[in-house]
């Protein structure tokens, strides 16, 4: 596809957790917990006033408000700040320093006086109802000529356990937000920029690693379309696909509009209660519903069911909008009969709604008239957009598995921010800025490893990107041979992990002790897998190395075997070569399996032969 021709522009926002000791606005450790370990829970209602919830009618808004109850899990590692029961501590200076380092790496200008703001977030993921965030630096440069607009330091939100239950362990972990300008024009370019920024972040050695510690939001628009923000892309590899699918969605929505115009499609509020038609329905959803309402969309048949990106139809968009009123979703006649709704019932509804062949009927099942009306109002609003001059609404969407996306909410304006008066501004003076040092980029480091230590280029890159990089550098500082350390980290551990060994339980200290043991000859490098297996199963390094035999050199092996044969000369005389089997066991016990059996049997055979020959001569 010629992305240039369709006018693709994209920008990204990267959110990366920082690996500081303490959280951003309290002194709790930045520890993630298993939600089953929670030590307590409480619940709150979040309240918003005026039009902060978007275009939902007032009555329904009230109803939703009362039902929007959020439960929070607390831990022995969280405090009253996370509970929104205590004012925040001063901004974590370690986190600010990491931000300044990153700002320097992108050649940015720091903000002289950093002000913490409250950004309204009412989805429950912040106990306070807002996220604390501060703009730290402006105006950076990317290698592709693009621009980094801003770096913000924010607090991480609480982790959703399920539905309206949140876990407070993650809330307050420092998060750096890096925003690029809309400077990218192909899906691949977006991915490359994301990869590059991720590499720069990891170069500081101060960012958290693992699933969920980095999230990308992508802003995408095409000519004639609109800016759409897709949130929560966790896998870097998917970014290009997300962009491709969003382009497809926007293009298809534009094409659908053309078709609708040709059909002279129109959207009116003709919603009606059709509950009576379904009094004896077989559909479980409809049977449970107190009220069922139907809406006729003139000229929409076939288009509600039209695929706009893999797994998503225009009807899915209607459904997302309707769900904001607390209904489970909608049905439309393009997908019916199905879900237990019969063709006969569909026909009855069509007749009741005076629908022509070209008209599509949307139905909603809800617990009350208010909710049903609210949901259909949402559908009307979305359907009107589909025929409007801007058929792609500006939206915040969430990524679905595979790279498609679902509607979350309208794009937030800039207006929902006000000062966090409980946190004092922080001054970044010249002295502090000038003292901020820039670490070696991992890409540069990889090159250096390859050159200085004669490590394979590919290996060097993997090493530089590895979580064990600090360990590797520590090993070098302690005089361990780079190849030994690199091989252990990249090959041995990968193989062990593949065999189901819990390699992550091995501490850096154990790695170093092992390497020192190899370097001093206390053990052989062949024994490392066994050593690690022992340590991973919970034993101490010293215990394991004691249990494993001191690995024997071939010279030592020869003298051990020589001695064993000499001690049993009578037995060898009697049995001759037949002594090989029984003696094999004796030798293997002596060296505790640390030597290849084939080598042992070879030497043993020679020794037996020699002893036998010696006796006879």
């Amino acid at each position: 596809m010629d992305y240039n021709a369709i006018g693709l522009t994209a920008g990204i926002e990267i959110h990366q957790q920082l690996n500081t000791r303490e959280k951003l606005f309290c002194h709790c450790l930045t520890l993630l917990r298993n939600s089953a370990e929670h030590s307590g829970e409480f619940f709150r209602y979040l309240r918003v006033t005026e039009s902060e919830m978007g275009e939902i009618d007032r009555a329904a808004q009230e109803e939703m408000k009362r039902e929007r109850k959020f439960r929070y899990y607390t831990y022995d590692t969280t405090c009253l700040v996370e509970n929104d029961e205590e004012p925040p501590a001063p901004m974590n200076d370690e986190a600010l320093s990491v931000c300044l380092t990153i700002a320097r790496m992108f050649g940015m200008t720091p903000v002289r006086q950093v002000h913490t703001m409250r950004k309204l977030v009412i989805d429950g993921s912040n106990t306070s109802g807002f996220q604390r965030t501060a703009l730290v630096a402006l105006n950076g440069a990317l290698p592709n000529g693009g621009e980094i607009e801003t770096i913000c330091l924010e607090e991480e939100a609480a982790q959703r356990v399920k539905d309206d239950i949140f876990s407070l362990d993650r809330l307050g972990i420092p998060l750096i937000e890096i925003t690029t300008s809309p400077c990218m024009h192909t899906p691949e370019e977006v991915q490359q920029v994301a990869e590059y920024i991720g590499m720069v972040l990891r170069s500081t050695g101060k960012v958290k690693r693992g699933i969920g510690t980095i999230r990308q939001d992508v802003n995408i628009s095409i000519r004639g379309g609109s800016r759409v923000e897709i949130k929560g892309v966790q896998e870097l590899d998917l970014i290009a696909e997300v962009v491709r699918r969003e382009v497809q969605r926007q293009e298809t929505l534009l094409a659908i509009r053309e078709k609708l115009l040709l059909r002279k499609a129109s959207v009116h509020d003709n919603a009606q209660d059709v509950t009576d038609i379904f009094t004896s329905t077989k559909s479980t959803v409809l049977k449970k519903a107190k009220r069922i309402y139907a809406l006729r969309l003139d000229g929409f048949t076939g288009l509600a069911g039209y695929e706009i990106q893999p797994g998503r139809r225009l009807g899915s968009e209607f459904s997302d909008y309707a769900k904001k009123c607390g209904v489970g979703g909608i049905f439309h006649t393009d997908e019916l009969p199905a879900y237990g709704i019969t063709a006969e019932e569909v026909l009855k509804v069509r007749t009741h709604m005076s629908a022509c062949d070209q008209d599509c009927i949307v139905m909603v099942a809800a617990a009350s008239d208010t909710l049903a009306r609210c949901a259909l109002h949402q559908v009307i609003g979305r359907a009107q957009l589909a025929v409007s001059e801007r058929p792609v609404p500006e939206e915040t969407r969430k990524m679905l598995e595979g790279g498609s996306s679902a509607y979350m909410r309208p794009l937030p304006g800039a207006a929902r921010m006000y000062p966090e008066t409980d946190v004092l501004p922080v001054i970044i003076d010249d002295e502090r800025w000038n003292a901020t040092t820039v670490p070696e980029l991992l890409s540069v480091k990889a090159q250096r490893f390859a050159q200085e230590y004669a490590i394979d280029r590919n290996y060097a890159t993997r090493l530089a990107l590895s979580e064990k990089l600090p360990l590797f550098e520590r090993a070098l500082a302690e005089g361990i041979k780079p190849k030994l350390a690199a091989f252990t980290i990249l090959s041995t551990c990968t193989e062990l992990r593949r065999d189901g060994v819990a390699v992550e339980k091995i501490s850096d200290e154990d790695y170093l002790a092992t390497w020192h043991a190899v370097e001093s000859g206390r053990t052989a490098k062949e024994a490392i897998p066994d050593l690690f297996k022992g340590i991973a199963s919970g034993d101490s390094f010293e215990n394991v190395i004691r249990k494993l035999a001191p690995t024997v050199s071939s010279h030592e092996l020869k003298s051990i075997i020589h001695k064993i044969v000499a001690d049993r000369s009578e037995f060898v005389e009697q049995k001759g070569r037949a002594a090989l089997g029984p003696l094999m066991g004796v030798v293997m016990t002596e060296v505790r399996g640390s030597v290849d059996g084939k080598i042992v049997s070879e030497i043993l055979r020679k020794e037996i032969d020699a002893a036998f020959a010696g006796k006879r001569s």
């Binding site: 409480f42 619940f43 709150r44 209602y45 979040l46 309240r47 918003v48 006033t49 005026e50 009230e62 009362r66 109850k69 009253l80 509970n83 929104d84 029961e85 205590e86 004012p87 940015m108 200008t109 903000v111 002289r112 006086q113 950093v114 002000h115 703001m117 409250r118 950004k119 309204l120 009412i122 106990t127 306070s128 109802g129 807002f130 965030t133 501060a134 703009l135 630096a137 402006l138 105006n139 801003t150 913000c152 800039a414 207006a415 929902r416 921010m417 006000y418 000062p419 501004p425 001054i427």
Partner: protein
Amino acid sequence: MYGGKTRKGIYITERDGMAVVKLDSGYNIGVDPVSCAFSGHLPEIPAKKPDVPQKKDLPGLSIVSTGGTIASRIDYRTGSVTSQFDAADILTAIPELANVANYRTIPLATILSENMTPLIWQELARAICEEIKRGVDGVIITHGTDTMAYSAAAISFMIDSPVPIVFVGSQRSADRPSSDNAMNAVCAARAATSDLGEVAIVMHATTSDDTCAIHRGTRVRKMHSSRRDAFRSIGIDPLGSVAYPSGEVSLEEHAVRRGCRKAGIHDKLEEHCGLLQFYPGMSPDLLEAYEGCKGLVIAGTGLGHVSTTLIPSVRGLVEDGTLVVMTTQCMQGRVCDRVYDTGRDLLAAGVIEGGDMLPEVALVKIMWVLGNERDPERAGSLMQADLKGECTRRSTHGL
């Protein structure tokens, strides 16, 4: 001009020599004032006055505001937060209130509660009295939480009321979506329209948004600096609770019921009183500094003690005409100065045992007693009498 680019923003204020500017993105940054150039004024947007219909058939409540924020509005253009005191604004912010009662609002003061004074207590008492005479079904007082318990005690002594007088506030600022202001306000309105007939504080009972506790105005303390459930009844159980969101009020047997007391006001106070917390090694000079005070409440240790070295100074104060009342800094439990020698010496010096009164309640009470009774003997026995539930005769409550 900043970071090599010209940016537009709204100038907010000057702070520590920096110009604070709100960028289009909503963020504030502090920049060197010389890097800013003035381009024009922000257009005024007239605040729209919502028209909130009140339901006349519902009970009538008066809301007297002293400065505690029950509702606030954020201007996201500038980030400024303003408190709302007018009935229409409060009802816009907390629509559920409209289902409980109709309201009159009386803006009495806009102060931080640490700036409260006995003079304002008196003005508050008069304002409340006027509302009661007007025939309202209950009065709500919005108040900062820091000294809310002092004010509640003061109003308890100054006013006899047939209708509930409910103090309410918020521990977490009203601008945040998680604020306790709305639930506290709704529960306060429920309590103020209930069968209660005394002065109470209604605030969160737990950290969750499930229940508000109704505390007696003379037996309540702020026991935490920031938690929502900071207010606790001390020495007695709460008078009742209000469930949220149902609004169901349940009153305990010991709560005074609506209509039990006749309306009345005794708003004289003797301000020249003090409250002194004893500590080990305290110098007699500090005690002597209270010379000339009409009343002094001591928060003694344990059963109500000060060191032996202070006893001559205590005796001196009493002889000079100061009414000295002993309470305990333990907060829980009652004073008994008959157990140890020091206590007996204090009694001999003329100190009056303050029973299980909270020290700050005893202070407010001594102001009121001395404002209304000049005879030392009778003032002393009034201090030991239970006037508004501030003293219990039996200690039924543990810790």
